[in-house]
Point group: C2
Chain length 491, copies 2
C-alpha cells in the first residue's frame, strides 16, 4: 500500500519529517519554530508522561508549578549559567496592546513597558532557587524533591519537529539536599530512572555516562546523561541529570541550619527529559512503512478492522469483534474497533501501519465461517490466521514479544554500530563510512575534544559508566588516557 513516504535510505531526514506529519503526530504551526502536537502524538507523550510521573513519585518526588516568566536579573546571578543560557530566548517587554489610533488594528501600547524585562523560562533553576530560599530554613526542610511538568522556550533558528523546537514540553526535577553525597546520589538515581524508562518502556537501549566538562549543563559540576543511537548512525541525548553543587544555593543565598546549629549552603540537582524523547522513539523503531511503536507506549495496542460487503456481514462481524474487544480489554489491552463506514479497509490498514499500531486484526466473512481472524504484527509485518478461541492468548503474548523484539533489534543495531578504534585515521573512516558510536582514547583535554569536533563534527557523547577502565593513549595526541570515551555525530 503506497504511503508516499520517502524511504530512509533515500533521505533519512526527509523520511523523519514526513513520517511525523503523516502519522498525525505533530506539525509546524503558524508561529516560527513552535509545533502543534496533534492528538495521536500527544497520546503517546501522555503515556510517556504517566510512566515517568509514576517513577518520579515512586522515588519520592512531588510535582509543583513555578512561573513561566523569569525576571531578567535572575539569570545574571549564577555566572556560568548566564553564559550557557538566556541568550536566545523570548523576551517579554510590554504588558498591553491597544487599538491603533490610525485604525491599523492593534499595536503594542508603548506606555505599558515593563520596568524589568521578563524572560520566558528556558529552564527554571533561577526562579526555583529564588523560591527555595523561602522554603528552606533548617535541615528539617530537606531534602526537597520537586518536579515540574512545563513548557519551556529556547529560541532556535533551525527547528525540527520534536527534536528541536522553540517551545517544547518537558519535566524538570529540582532537588535540594543537606549534603553533597545525597545530591550526587540523587543525580545518579535519576539517570538510572531515565535509563530504565528508555529501555523498558520506549524499548530504546541507552548508554549511561558522564558528560565532559565542555558538554556539561551551564552551572553544573557534573552532568549525567543517557545516549541513544538512531538508525542513521547519529546519537541522541535522551535525558540529562545534573549535580549542581552549591552554585545555585550560593547565587540565591539558600542556607540551612544544621542539626548542630551551623549554617550551610544547600546542595542541588536538576534533571529533565522532553518531547525530544518522541524523536528518539520514532527514529529508533520506525521503518519505511511508517511508525513502529512499542506496545507499552502505543495509544492503541490492537486495532480490529471489519471487512464486509453489506450490513448483514458487518453485523455478524461486529458481534465477534466487540466480544473480542471486551475480552482483550479485560486483559488490560488497549483495543480500538474501527467500524467507520467513511473509510475502506485498505485505507484503515494503511493508516494503522503508518501510525504504528502493534497488532492489527482483520475479520471478514470467511473468518466467521472458519472461526479465525487474520492477525498482523507491525514490527515484523508478519501475518497469521489465528483461531478465534486462541486470539486473546496470542495477542497477550505478542504484547511482550513485540516489546522485547523492538528492544533486541535496537540493541543489535547499536552493537553493530559501535566500533572501537585505536587511531584517528581509523576514527574518521568509521565516522564517515559507518557512523554510530566510536569508542576511542582521549587525553582528557578540551582542546583535543574541540579539534575532533571541528575536524569530524563528532562530539564526545559521554564517558560511559558501565565500561572497563582500560588505559591507553589518545588517538589524536598520543598522550595517556585512563579510559575510552564514546564519540558520535549527534542530534
Amino acid at each position: 500500500m503506497a504511503k508516499n513516504l520517502t524511504r530512509r535510505d533515500e533521505d533519512y531526514s526527509k523520511w523523519y519529517n514526513e513520517l511525523v506529519v503523516k502519522a498525525d503526530m505533530a506539525e509546524n504551526s503558524g508561529v516560527r519554530g513552535c509545533m502543534v502536537i496533534k492528538p495521536y502524538g500527544f497520546a503517546i507523550w501522555e503515556k510517556m508522561q504517566a510512566e515517568l510521573d509514576r517513577m518520579f513519585k515512586e522515588t519520592g518526588h512531588q510535582n509543583a508549578y513555578f512561573p513561566l516568566f523569569i525576571p531578567k536579573s535572575y539569570f545574571s546571578k549564577e555566572a556560568s549559567h548566564v553564559d550557557g543560557f538566556a541568550k536566545e530566548c523570548a523576551v517579554v517587554t510590554h504588558y498591553r496592546l491597544k487599538n491603533d489610533e490610525n485604525g491599523n488594528g492593534i499595536v503594542v501600547d508603548p506606555e505599558a513597558k515593563l520596568e524589568e524585562e521578563l524572560i520566558v523560562r528556558p529552564t527554571s533553576e533561577t526562579i526555583i532557587w529564588d523560591t527555595y530560599r523561602k522554603w528552606i530554613q533548617s535541615y528539617r526542610d530537606l531534602p526537597i524533591l520537586v518536579n515540574q511538568w512545563a513548557n519551556v522556550v529556547r529560541w532556535e533558528m533551525r527547528t525540527r519537529l520534536f527534536l528541536r523546537t522553540a517551545e517544547f514540553l518537558w519535566q524538570e526535577g529540582h532537588t535540594a539536599h543537606a549534603t553533597e553525597k545525597e545530591a550526587i546520589a540523587e543525580a545518579e538515581q535519576m539517570m538510572h530512572v531515565y535509563a530504565d524508562f528508555a529501555e523498558n518502556f520506549m524499548a530504546v537501549p541507552v548508554i549511561k555516562g558522564l558528560k565532559t566538562e565542555s558538554e556539561r549543563f551551564a552551572g553544573a559540576l557534573e552532568t549525567y546523561c543517557i545516549e541513544a543511537l538512531m538508525q542513521d548512525g547519529k546519537a541522541l541525548q535522551a535525558g540529562t541529570s545534573h549535580f549542581l553543587g552549591q552554585n545555585f544555593a550560593k547565587a540565591f543565598d539558600v542556607k540551612y541550619a544544621t542539626k548542630e546549629g551551623g549554617q550551610e549552603y544547600v546542595w542541588a540537582t536538576s534533571w529533565g527529559v522532553s518531547t525530544r524523547l518522541m524523536g528518539a522513539l520514532i527514529m529508533t523503531h520506525s521503518d519505511d512503512n511508517g511508525l513502529v511503536l512499542p506496545p507499552k507506549l502505543a495509544p492503541q495496542q490492537v486495532v480490529i478492522v471489519p471487512i464486509y460487503r453489506n450490513d448483514e456481514q458487518l453485523e455478524a462481524i461486529s458481534e465477534v469483534a466487540k466480544e473480542l474487544q471486551t475480552q482483550l480489554r479485560d486483559k488490560g489491552i488497549r483495543v480500538k474497533y474501527d467500524d467507520r463506514d467513511t473509510q475502506k479497509p485498505g485505507w484503515k490498514f494503511n493508516q494503522y501501519e503508518l501510525q504504528g499500531v502493534p497488532v492489527r486484526i482483520a475479520i471478514g466473512p470467511k473468518d466467521l465461517e472458519k472461526g479465525t481472524v487474520e492477525l498482523a504484527r507491525r514490527d515484523t509485518l508478519e501475518k497469521q490466521f489465528v483461531k478465534r478461541e486462541e486470539v486473546v492468548a496470542v495477542v497477550e503474548g505478542l504484547m511482550t514479544e513485540i516489546q522485547d523484539n523492538l528492544y533486541k533489534k535496537a540493541v543489535g543495531y547499536r552493537a553493530e554500530h559501535t566500533t572501537t578504534v585505536e587511531t584517528y585515521e581509523e576514527f574518521k573512516k568509521v565516522l564517515n563510512e559507518k557512523g554510530g558510536f566510536v569508542a576511542a582514547h582521549w587525553d582528557g583535554t578540551a582542546k583535543t575534544e574541540e579539534q575532533v569536533k571541528n575536524e569530524t563534527k563528532a562530539t564526545i557523547r559521554c564517558i560511559p559508566i558501565d565500561s572497563d577502565n582500560e588505559a591507553g593513549s589518545c588517538m589524536v595526541t598520543g598522550k595517556p588516557s585512563k579510559r575510552r570515551v564514546l564519540f558520535a555525530k549527534a542530534y
Copy 2:
C-alpha cells in the same frame, strides 16, 4: 491548637490568603502576579485534573498541544474577540539577550526584534482555528473534539492566589462540528460535565445557566456556565462553555465539504476550567482551623500519627500502624503514616488539620493496651475511639460520609443564602445584609443590567437552566420579564 489564622468573620479575604499560604498550597513568586503552586496545592490540582481528564475522554475528547505564542495579527481576525481579549497581555518583542557592552549584566539585544510581536496566549481560539483550517477538509474530518491542558497569561493588576493570577493553569476544549445543533449539544454537554465534577468530586453545588449577552465570552453566541456560592456570600464562576457559532470558522476561513458536495463553515465550541477551581474548593468548605478537603480530592485521605515516649513504644505502635496502613490501602484509601521524629504529635495534628486531611488516626501506648485507635474527622472535628478491628470499615464509611456531608452543608448554605425578591429596595437590602444569590425579575436589557451593577456591584451570574419560567416584571423598570435571573456580587 493555635494556627495564627485570621478568623473568617474577622476578615474573610485575609483568612483566605493566609490559609492558602499556611496550608502550603501556593504563594506569590518574585514575578508580579505569578504564583508558585506548592507540592500540596499541586497534588490537589492533579487529582482534579485526573478526574476531569477522565471525564473528557469518556465523552470522546483527545488531548493535544498548541503553541504558547500567538502572532499579534491573529487576534485582529475575529472582531468581537479582540475587543474582549488581547489587551492586557504579555507581549514578546525580542528573541535575544546579550552582554551589556558597559558591563551592566545582560540586556535585550535591540537587533533581535521580532517582525511581528508574539502574544503569550490568554486563550487559544485563534491559534487553534488557524490550525483547524489545515485539519478540516471534509465532513469525514468532523467532529474534532480536542482539549489542551496549558498555562495562559492575562495581565492582571490586582491578583489573588488561585482566584486571579497573571499566569494560571487551565484546560481549554476546542471542538469543531458540522452542524449548529451538534455544537450546541457539545457546549451544553460540557457544562453538565463541569457541574458533575464540581458536585460529585469537589462537593461544591453549582447553578447551571446561561450568561447574559454582556457577560458572554468575547466571540461567543452563547456562554453556558456553572456558578458556585462562597461562604462570604459572593458567587464564583467555576467553569464556562461557549457556543461560538461560525465566528472563528469565518475569521480563519475553515470550511468543510458536506456529504452532498457543498461547502459550509464549521461550527465551534470552547470550554474551560482553571486553577481558579482551587479557590472555589478552598472557600466552599474550609473553616477557621484551616482547609477542609472532600475525600475524593484529598492527596492524603487518612493520616496516622504515633504518640510515644520511647523507641520501644514507637516500634510497637508502628507495627499496628503499618498493618492498618496496608489494610486501608488495599481498600484504595490514600494513607500516610507520619513517624517523623523531627516533629511532635501536636505539631502534626495542627498541620494536618490546617491541610484538611479528612481523617486523622492517632495511636498511643494506651490504645495498644485497649486495642483501639483515636479517630478524628476534619469536617466535624469529632473524635471517637474505634476498636482496632473496626477501623477499616469505619474509615471506609467515613470517606463517603464526609464527602456527602460537605456537599450537603454547602447545599444548605446556598439554600439559606438564595433569596427571591420582588422589589429593587428589597434586592439592595438583601445584598447588603445577607449576600448570596438573589433571584429577581429583569427586563432583559443591558441597560438595566448595567444600572444594577453600577448601583449595587451585583451582576447577573446567570439565567438558570433548571428553574421555572415564571413571568413577572423587572424589579428596576417594571417592564415584563419572562423569568427570574440570579444576581450576586462575584469573585
